[in-house]
């Protein structure tokens, strides 16, 4: 069976994971290892008057306790946000200072004020409990509304009114005019619920300082170890880049939350130097809820105008985005360039205006979580379309269909330029698979059993493959968003691919090897993928935003091009033919129309012995490439969800879920479908189960799996995942990316289905049985 592009090859990495031989950060133990625990603020907003460590310092096993004043005194820099956003009035965003260990004030429950180092984990934790911090409690703003109230406490001195920025995109006047002249305007208030990403592996770090070499090593649960090293060096001044090695070994899921460089990694590195010990810290689950960046948390008011035929004439959006207590690494870009730029959805919308108010609150920092801005955009657009169809008395599929973009490239009013797609094709495929036409009969059958049945659709689009470096630079990004790769062919013909992408569940060891197998006809077992270590791979921007395919693999393709060119030249020389007569297939360099060929190891050996090379050719066979994308990519598709609701209990069951996606070229359909399954599950989680809740005084009420409803097996149906692809025109493999689609397209499909079942459109995520029951009864009472 082919192992090349398009083959559902089983994963190479599975053996170690199914036998318990994976190597995650917490599995690693260093010589001379000590353990860290953090002293965390129990108050959401408090002044730190004094930290008394005297009782803790004399406890068994305690090595050291350090605070924020010592940390900043040693020149460790504040944590930064890497994307500069400019407000409407031209002013820069108001980034409040964020020290890895809080000095004067704590701003959320969990904000660390000190690090305790001890011989064992239990001793470190016990001592952390014994550190006596004198807090002066301050008034708390735990929600957007509280932070914007007239009497709100000031969370950061430099952010008046707790405003991070007041940003806009699009044409306000033209959109207002279009809405004023519209035949129909649909208006909605939409809440996008706050989520915790919850990769199953909690964050962990082991920092080691080598005094003799003046060198640091950090093992960490990172989606992008090179970015971690860059930020730790350039901004936090922990160590210069050449004196800091960052290794992200097996990482147990990320979903965005492991992009960021958190206070704990910074403090552990610094503490390893202070104590001359390896310092290890592993989060527990409640600590993860209290410190891992959260996602979503938007409040939006939107108006969408239609002409008499149902064509959209304008879309005006006003969103308030909760940033939490500090600006995390990519936080500023999420509700702006990753959200508002997708508000055209899959539709021709001539006029769009969006304004976004970024707001500080006394909660965990909020940043990119699977989809990052695009789920919020997709939810808004697709809830608006469904609601408009109901108000206009039109079939929701038909309303979408008359508004679909059909010509490409398509320039939206909000920056994005879509390269390809067949929106109606995906919708028709999904409708057929879901038996859309047979829904009325199924609804009647449910009704006969006393159940309410509903069907809902979403036609999402998203932007992946972030992104052309110059373009994002012009929009405020502090980094370029290219990717690097190096292809090394060894003398025996085996191949190593070094990549700046990072696999934490995506299966790169298999799919990246498939790209090489496709090119040369070598078996994937002779290809090793090397990633996750800054000493091995020169540089890379890591894995997030579904970029490993469209950007990471494109870099590999570029490097393969160079290797192939050298092989052709060498083979032509050795076989005494012209390069044009050489074909590479089945792991051989063959001469067209003859039986002359070179075996793969013969090519490798010839390159490395260097005994007989063409004039001017260097020995060896190793090439590197940096790939900078030409454009974002635009995965899109149609999801259809069908639900049955029990009106007696409000319990909702998903009875079928169909996804038709356009991901462009697919390397391994088995892995791609797995990505979609997981994304849908997280989307169902957002729609029906998950929500981070805070009390008014900023205590997190949902900080364990006893309280935060993670989707479990019996919450979910089987999914039908289909492909209807066009080819992306802006990267060499034609890939669009598949990692986030499920999480982006699912919530609106689920809520459109449930609201159609219960006949009440006023329903917010997550749709707990209590909420659904109340909505059913509110609709019944209103009808009476």
């Amino acid at each position: 069976m082919s192992q090349g592009i398009g083959a559902p090859v089983k994963r190479k990495e599975d053996k170690r994971f199914t036998t318990g031989k994976g190597k995650y950060t917490d599995d690693i133990r260093m010589e001379n290892q000590a353990y860290a625990a953090f002293v965390r603020s129990p108050f959401a907003h408090a002044r730190v008057r004094n930290i008394d460590t005297s009782a803790a310092m004399v406890m068994d096993g305690v090595i050291a306790i350090h605070n924020g004043a010592e940390l900043t005194g040693d020149g460790i820099g504040n944590i930064i946000c890497g994307w500069a956003i400019t407000s409407k009035d031209g002013s820069p965003m108001n980034m409040g200072a964020w020290s890895a260990l809080a000095t004067e004030k704590t701003r959320y429950v969990g904000d660390a004020v000190a690090i305790v180092i001890a011989e064992t984990k239990a001793q470190a934790r016990a001592a952390a409990e014994a550190v006596d911090v004198d807090y002066e409690e301050l008034p708390v703003a735990a929600t957007i509304a509280a932070a914007l109230a007239d009497d709100a406490p000031q969370i950061h001195e430099n952010a008046a009114g707790n405003i991070v920025y007041d940003w806009e995109i699009g044409e306000r006047d033209a959109t207002d005019k279009a809405l004023a002249n519209a035949a129909h305007v649909t208006e909605m208030d939409i809440t996008n619920n706050r989520l915790s990403p919850n990769p199953m592996e909690p964050r962990s770090a082991i920092a080691t300082f080598d005094e003799a070499e003046d060198h640091y090593t950090l093992y960490t649960t990172s989606q992008n170890p090179h970015v971690a090293r860059l930020v730790l060096s350039a901004f936090y001044q922990v160590a210069p880049e050449h004196k800091l090695r960052v290794i992200a070994p097996d990482v147990g899921g990320g979903f965005g939350s492991k992009i960021y460089i958190y206070p704990e990694e910074i403090a552990c590195l610094w503490a390893s130097m202070k104590t001359n010990r390896s310092v290890k810290w592993t989060s527990d689950r409640t600590e993860a809820f209290l410190t891992d960046a959260h996602g979503r948390d938007h409040l939006t008011k939107a108006r969408m105008g239609f002409d008499a035929e149902g064509r959209i004439v304008g879309f005006k959006v006003s969103t308030k985005a909760n940033f939490g207590a500090y600006m995390s690494l990519f936080s500023s870009a999420v509700p702006t360039y990753l959200y508002a730029t997708l508000l055209s959805g899959t539709y021709n919308i001539p006029n769009i205006y969006c304004e976004v108010l970024g707001v500080y609150t006394n909660t965990v920092p909020v940043d990119a979580y699977r989809g990052a801005g695009r789920p919020e955009a997709s939810y808004l657009v697709e809830r608006m379309m469904e609601t408009a169809a109901r108000e206009l008395g039109k079939d929701p599929a038909e309303l979408r269909n008359i508004n679909f973009i059909r010509e490409f490239p398509h320039q939206t009013p909000v920056i994005m330029n879509y390269d390809s797609g067949d929106f109606e094709g995906n919708m028709r495929q999904a409708m057929e698979a879901a038996d859309w036409a047979g829904f009325a009969a199924r609804k009647a059958e449910s009704r006969a059993r006393g159940k309410l049945r509903g069907i809902g659709m979403s036609c999402y689009i998203e932007a992946c493959g972030i992104a052309p470096s110059a373009a994002v630079g012009s929009l405020g990004a502090g980094v370029g968003l290219w990717e690097s790769a190096e292809v090394r062919m060894n003398p025996v013909g085996t191949i190593e691919v070094l990549t700046g992408s990072h696999s934490h569940g995506q299966g790169h060891e298999t799919t990246f090897a498939q790209v090489v197998a496709d090119r040369f006809g070598v078996p994937i077992d002779s290809v090793q993928i090397v990633h996750g270590d800054t000493d091995k791979v020169q540089f890379g921007m890591g894995t997030y935003g579904s970029r490993s395919g469209p950007v990471g693999m494109s870099a590999i393709v570029k490097a393969l091009d160079k290797v192939e060119a050298k092989i052709r030249k060498l083979a032509a020389h050795l076989l005494e033919v012209s390069e044009a007569d050489i074909v590479i297939e089945d792991a051989q360099a063959k001469v067209v129309g003859t039986n002359k060929s070179l075996a793969w190891h013969e090519i490798g050996l010839a390159a490395y012995t260097g005994h007989n090379l063409p004039e001017g050719m260097e020995p060896g066979l190793k090439e590197g490439a940096f790939y900078d994308p030409m454009n974002f990519t635009f995965p899109m598709g149609c999801f259809i969800c069908e639900v049955e609701v029990d009106p007696q209990t409000g319990k909702t069951e998903i009875v079928s879920f169909v996804a038709s996606d356009d991901f462009g070229t697919i390397i391994n359909p088995m892995i791609v479908e797995g990505q979609v399954h997981g994304g849908i599950a997280q989307g169902v989680g957002q729609a029906m189960l998950e929500e981070v809740r805070y009390s008014e005084d900023g205590q997190q009420l949902s900080a364990s799996y006893m309280d935060y409803a993670m989707p479990r097996a019996d919450d979910l149906p089987n999914f039908e995942v289909l492909h209807h692809g066009t080819t992306c025109t802006t990267n060499p493999l034609g890939m669009k990316g598949c990692g986030e689609a499920g999480a982006i397209g699912t919530p609106p499909a689920v809520i459109n289905a449930i609201t159609s079942a219960i006949g009440n459109n006023d329903l917010n995520m997550p749709t707990t049985p209590a909420k659904v029951w109340a909505a059913i009864n509110a609709a019944r009472i209103a009808a009476e």
Binding site: T18, T19, G22, K23, M200, D250, S704, M706, R712
Partner: protein, 156 residues
């Protein structure tokens, strides 16, 4: 401190542990068998499932001292030369992504197949989903985990 002795993956082991040492801590930190994972601390996620005297238990919820004298099997002890049919089924059906929950899923999967077989009950899809109540996966949406366990149930 207590001295404990048990058989882990067929080998006798002993250790001196504090009375509050959890079984998962003994397995991971004393025996250095790191395939058994800790994902939640509240007995919800099931990443720490091992078999004690033939039953699936969450090793974050049992004291090491309580397992004194027990027969313990961890993910490292499941394969007998070749992969166990459950391990193979997870590979065949793409039943894992990041791999962190996988050891617990496999240990729970083996346990549920054995229980249903010995009770003469059919382990259908609904039963598998119900039985997985104590194992959380964030990557796969369970679709392929259910397929994996169903395949292994036919082969075990």
């Amino acid at each position: 401190m207590s001295e404990i002795k048990m058989t882990v993956n067929g080998k006798p082991v002993r250790g001196d542990v504090k009375d509050n040492t959890l079984l998962v801590e003994f397995i991971r930190e004393h025996l250095r068998l790191t395939g058994t994972h800790v994902g939640c601390d509240t007995s919800q996620c099931g990443a720490c499932v091992v078999h004690v005297n033939g039953k699936a238990i969450k090793s974050c919820t049992m004291l090491a001292a309580s397992a004194d004298g027990a027969e313990v099997t961890t993910i490292e002890g499941v394969a007998n030369g070749d992969l166990h049919p459950m391990q193979k089924a997870f590979n065949d059906n793409h039943g894992l992504q990041c791999g962190f929950c996988t050891p617990g899923m496999i240990m729970s999967g083996i346990d549920m197949v054995q229980r249903y077989k010995s009770a003469g009950k059919t382990l259908d899809e609904a039963a598998i989903r119900h039985e997985l109540e104590g194992n959380i996966c964030r990557c796969t949406g369970y679709h392929n985990i259910v397929k994996s366990i169903a395949q292994a149930a036919g082969e075990m």
